[in-house]
C-alpha cells in the first residue's frame, strides 16, 4: 500500500498527489511513469512521475480527472492509500546539454513537462518553455515554469492569458524569427503533439513527444500500447514513452485511444450515479 502524504487541487479538474513510495523515489528519472491501481476492482493505468524526493521517499503525480479511474484517485485524501503503484517504468528522457531547448506542455501535459524542463535546464541548456491551455484557469505550473526558464511563454485558446492561440503559434513565431533551436520536447494532447511535430518538420528540428497510448501492464507484455514509429511497431511502455515526433503515426494513435470510449462512458456514468447520492 502506498500512502498519500500531500494533496493539492491545482485547478477544477487537475490534482496533485505526493505518494510514499521510497523504492521508486530512490531510482526514478524524469520522463518515467508509474502504473496505478486504486483499489481491488480498479483498472491499471499510467501516470507520469511529475516529481520525486529521494530523501523523503515520495513520488509526485499530477493528473486530470477524465474518467472513472482518475476520479477515483482524485477522491483520495492525505492518509489514504493507493493499492498498487508500480514503477519506475519506461525509458528516461535524455536531457543532455545540446544548446537551446524548447519544452512545450499542453493542458495537464505541463505538469509532465516541468520536471523534463528542469532537467534540461540543470544540464546547462538555454531553456525556452511554452505553457499552453484552453483558458487561464487551466494553466498549470505557471510560476514553476517561469522560475526555471530563460524565456517563458504562455498561450491560451481563448486569449484569457498570455498569447491568444496555440502553443504552435509561439513555436511557429520562434522558428520564423530564425531562432536557433536544437531540440523541441512536447507533451500534451495528441493533436497538440501532432501539430508541434508538423511545425518543426520543415526545418528538421529534432522533436521529442511523450505518447500516452492505452496501457494495461506497462511492462511490455500485452502490446496494448503499440504505436507505429517510422513504419515500425513499438511498445510505448518499454520502447518509449518518448519518440521522435516526426516518425510517429499520430492519427493511428488517436484512433487507438478511442478504442474503449463506449465502455469508459458506461463506467463513468455508473460511478457518477453511485457516488452522486452519497
Amino acid at each position: 500500500m502506498y500512502e498519500i502524504k500531500f494533496k493539492q487541487v491545482l485547478n477544477p479538474v487537475t490534482k496533485m498527489l505526493v505518494v510514499q513510495a521510497p523504492d521508486i523515489a530512490k531510482v526514478c528519472k524524469a520522463g518515467q511513469f508509474v502504473m496505478i491501481r486504486v483499489n481491488e476492482t480498479g483498472e491499471r493505468f499510467p501516470l507520469t512521475i511529475a516529481d520525486f524526493d529521494r530523501e523523503k521517499g515520495t513520488v509526485t503525480i499530477v493528473f486530470q480527472e477524465v474518467g472513472k479511474s482518475t476520479q477515483l484517485l482524485g477522491r483520495l485524501e492525505v492518509g489514504d492509500e493507493i493499492l498498487d503503484f508500480v514503477g519506475p517504468l519506461g525509458k528516461a528522457t535524455h536531457t543532455d546539454d545540446i544548446g537551446t531547448v524548447v519544452v512545450i506542455g499542453g493542458g495537464c501535459g505541463s505538469a509532465i513537462a516541468y520536471p523534463v524542463a528542469r532537467a534540461f535546464k540543470e544540464a546547462g541548456n538555454h531553456l525556452i518553455t511554452i505553457n499552453g491551455a484552453r483558458s487561464m484557469s487551466l494553466l498549470l505550473y505557471r510560476e514553476e515554469m517561469k522560475k526555471i526558464s530563460d524565456e517563458a511563454y504562455e498561450t491560451t485558446d481563448d486569449g484569457s492569458c498570455g498569447v491568444h492561440g496555440f502553443v504552435t503559434t509561439v513555436l511557429g513565431d520562434l522558428i520564423q524569427q530564425g531562432r536557433k533551436i536544437d531540440l523541441v520536447f512536447a507533451v500534451g494532447p495528441v493533436p497538440m503533439m501532432k501539430f508541434v511535430a508538423k511545425t518543426t518538420e520543415d526545418k528538421k528540428i529534432p522533436t521529442i513527444v511523450s505518447l500516452n497510448s492505452i496501457m494495461v501492464d506497462g511492462t511490455g507484455m500485452c502490446g496494448a500500447c503499440r504505436v507505429t514509429v517510422g513504419g515500425q511497431m513499438k511498445f510505448a511502455c518499454v520502447d518509449g514513452p518518448e519518440f521522435d515526433g516526426h516518425e510517429v503515426d499520430f492519427d493511428e494513435l488517436m484512433g487507438r485511444l478511442n478504442a474503449y470510449t463506449k465502455q469508459e462512458e458506461k463506467s463513468e456514468e455508473l460511478y457518477a450515479s453511485e457516488s452522486g447520492g452519497s
Binding site: 472513472k68 498498487d84 508500480v86 500485452c222 502490446g223 511497431m233 474503449y260 469508459e264 458506461k266
Partner: protein, 475 residues
C-alpha cells in the same frame, strides 16, 4: 498393412479412462465457471484400481518433476487421499494446477505401460482429485529443516519461480519472490482462463508456499526498481533465480496489426483474467469483443482466447491456423472442448492482411489457403501458400496468438548475461546456472514459450543447482 493380419486370440477390448464430469457445452459457453468438474472419490478409486503398479513404471519418466505416480496411485486405491496428496507434494508444489493443465497425453500418460493397449491411466485427473481433496480438507504443513541462514531471491512468480521457491524453502533457505504484477502465478493468473484453472486454486497453492515461509513482494519490476546486482551486493541475497517467462507478444508482419480491434492474446486474456474484465462494469477494466472473432494461432493460447471470446458473447469464433489439425500444438482436451463449445476451425489458412475502415475498426481479414509441403527443421511438413487462393474472411475482431518472446526488461538490465539469438537466457542444463555465477534461470525465459510442467521442472533443477552452489561456496 497391419490390419490384414487377424489377431490369433481374442483379447479384452481396450478400456477407457474413467470419464470426468463436465459442464454441458451449451451451458458452459455462456459462463466462466470451470468446465471439468473433477472425479468423485468412487470414480477416482475405480480409475486407480486399473493401474498395474508396474515393477518398473515408465510413467514417472514422462514427468519433468518426477511425481511418484505409482506410489500416489497406490494410496488412492486404499482411499488414503490425504497421504496421496502429501506423496505428490514431495516433488510437485502445484499438483492441483498440473492435474488441470499438463499436456498429459504427451507426458506421463504417454509413457504409461497400461496405456500401450488401453487408454492410459488418467494420471492427471487423479492428481487433480487428490490435490483438490487435500486443499478442501486443509493440508498439514510438512516439517521444515532448520534455516541454513542464506537468502535466495526469485524473480517472477510463474510456475518456474514458485517451484524453485518451494523447493528452496524446504531445504532451509530464506526465499523472497519479486513479482512485477499485483498477483502471483504468471501465466497461471493472467493467461489461463478461470474456466480452465480457477484463480482461487492458484492463490491457494501460493498461500501454501507463504505458509511455508516464502515471502512475496508484488509490484516489483526487477531491472527497473532494483537491479539484480543490487539484490546480490546490497540486499544480501546469496543467489538469484530468474523465472520471468516469455511475456512479450508477437504480432504478424502483415498490414493492419495496429488496428483498434486487433489484440494480442496476452492483452485480451490479461484484461479478462488478471483484471477480471469479464465482470465489467463491476470491475473497471473494459474488454472489447465483436460479433465475429478470428483468433490466429493453434496453441493453448489460441484455444483460450477463442473460448473466452465465446463466453464474452461473440457469435462466431474462428481459429485460423496455417497448418493442419494434427499439427496444432494445443492440448487435445482443449481442442476438443473448444470444438464442443462451437469454435470453428479454419485450418491451412494464413492471414495476409487485416482490413480496417477509416476509424481503425476491423472490417475483414484477407487470407490465403495453404497446403503442406516438405518437412521443415522441426520435422513438421511446412505449410506453403496456394497461389490465387486469396479470400476475405468476414470478421470484426482479430486476436493474435502466434507466440510470445522473452520479456527483455530483466535480461537487458544484467550486463554480461549470455543470451541466445532469440533473447532467451543461456544456462547450464544440469544446474540451471547462467553465465554469471550465482544467477540461475529457468522456464519460458530459457526455453521460449513452453509448458507449465517444463517450467516447473526447470525451477526444480535450479533449486538443486542453487543448493549445490551455495553449499560448496565458501564465504
Amino acid at each position: 498393412m497391419a490390419d490384414e493380419k487377424k489377431p490369433k486370440r481374442k483379447r479384452k477390448p481396450p478400456t477407457k479412462k474413467e470419464p470426468m464430469p463436465e459442464q454441458d457445452p451449451s451451458v458452459r459457453r455462456g459462463n466462466f465457471e470451470e468446465v471439468a468438474l473433477g472425479y468423485a472419490a468412487e470414480a477416482a478409486i475405480r480409475e486407480a484400481e486399473k493401474c498395474m503398479q508396474c515393477r518398473n513404471p515408465k510413467c514417472v519418466a514422462g514427468c519433468p518433476v518426477d511425481v511418484p505416480i505409482k506410489e500416489f496411485i497406490a494410496l488412492v486405491r486404499e482411499g488414503k487421499f490425504m497421504e496421496a496428496a502429501e506423496k505428490i507434494k514431495e516433488t510437485n508444489t502445484l499438483p492441483a494446477i498440473c492435474g488441470r493443465v499438463c499436456p498429459q497425453e504427451t507426458q506421463c500418460e504417454a509413457k504409461c505401460i497400461y496405456g500401450i493397449r488401453n487408454e492410459a491411466i488418467a494420471i492427471g485427473r487423479l492428481e487433480r482429485f487428490v490435490a483438490d481433496f487435500a486443499r478442501e480438507k486443509g493440508e498439514p504443513l510438512p516439517e521444515l529443516p532448520e534455516k541454513i541462514g542464506k537468502q535466495v531471491a526469485v524473480v517472477g512468480s510463474g510456475p518456474a519461480g514458485l517451484t524453485c521457491a518451494g523447493d528452496l524453502i524446504k531445504l532451509g533457505y530464506d526465499v523472497t519472490i519479486f513479482e512485477a504484477f499485483h498477483k502471483p502465478g504468471g501465466v497461471l493468473m493472467y493467461g489461463i482462463p478461470e474456466f480452465r484453472l480457477p484463480k482461487d486454486i492458484v492463490e491457494a497453492e501460493v498461500e501454501f508456499l507463504e505458509k511455508l515461509g516464502v515471502k512475496i513482494r508484488y509490484n516489483y519490476v526487477v531491472g527497473k526498481i532494483r537491479q539484480v546486482k543490487e539484490l546480490m551486493e546490497e540486499d544480501g541475497f546469496d543467489a538469484v533465480f530468474l523465472g520471468t517467462g516469455a511475456g512479450a507478444p508477437n504480432f504478424m508482419r502483415i498490414p493492419g496489426m495496429t488496428l483498434v480491434d486487433v489484440f494480442s492474446a496476452n492483452e485480451f486474456l490479461t484484461r479478462v483474467n488478471l483484471m477480471k474484465g469479464y465482470l465489467f462494469p463491476e470491475y473497471d477494466t473494459p474488454v472489447k469483443i465483436g460479433q465475429k472473432v478470428a483468433v490466429i494461432g493453434g496453441g493453448n493460447v489460441a484455444m483460450d482466447a477463442a473460448r473466452t471470446s465465446l463466453r464474452l458473447g461473440a457469435e462466431e469464433v474462428y481459429i485460423v491456423y496455417r497448418r493442419s489439425r494434427e499439427q496444432m500444438p494445443a492440448r487435445l482436451e482443449e481442442v476438443h472442448h473448444a470444438e464442443e463449445e462451437g469454435v470453428q476451425f479454419k485450418l491451412l489458412i494464413n492471414p495476409t492482411e487485416v482490413i480496417g475502415d477509416e476509424k481503425g475498426n476491423v472490417i475483414g481479414m484477407k487470407c490465403i489457403r495453404m497446403e503442406l509441403g516438405e518437412k521443415d527443421a522441426s520435422g513438421r511438413r511446412r505449410p506453403v501458400p496456394i497461389e490465387g487462393s486469396e479470400f476475405v474472411m468476414d470478421v470484426d475482431t482479430v486476436i493474435v496468438a502466434i507466440g510470445n518472446s522473452p520479456n527483455p526488461i530483466v535480461t537487458e538490465s544484467i550486463p554480461g548475461l549470455e543470451l541466445s539469438k532469440w533473447g532467451t537466457i543461456v544456462i547450464d542444463e544440469e544446474t540451471g546456472m547462467s553465465s554469471i555465477p550465482g544467477i540461475f534461470a529457468g522456464g519460458d525465459i530459457v526455453t521460449g514459450a513452453a509448458t507449465v510442467i517444463s517450467a516447473m521442472g526447470a525451477g526444480k533443477t535450479a533449486a538443486e543447482g542453487i543448493h549445490k552452489y551455495l553449499s560448496e561456496k565458501k564465504d
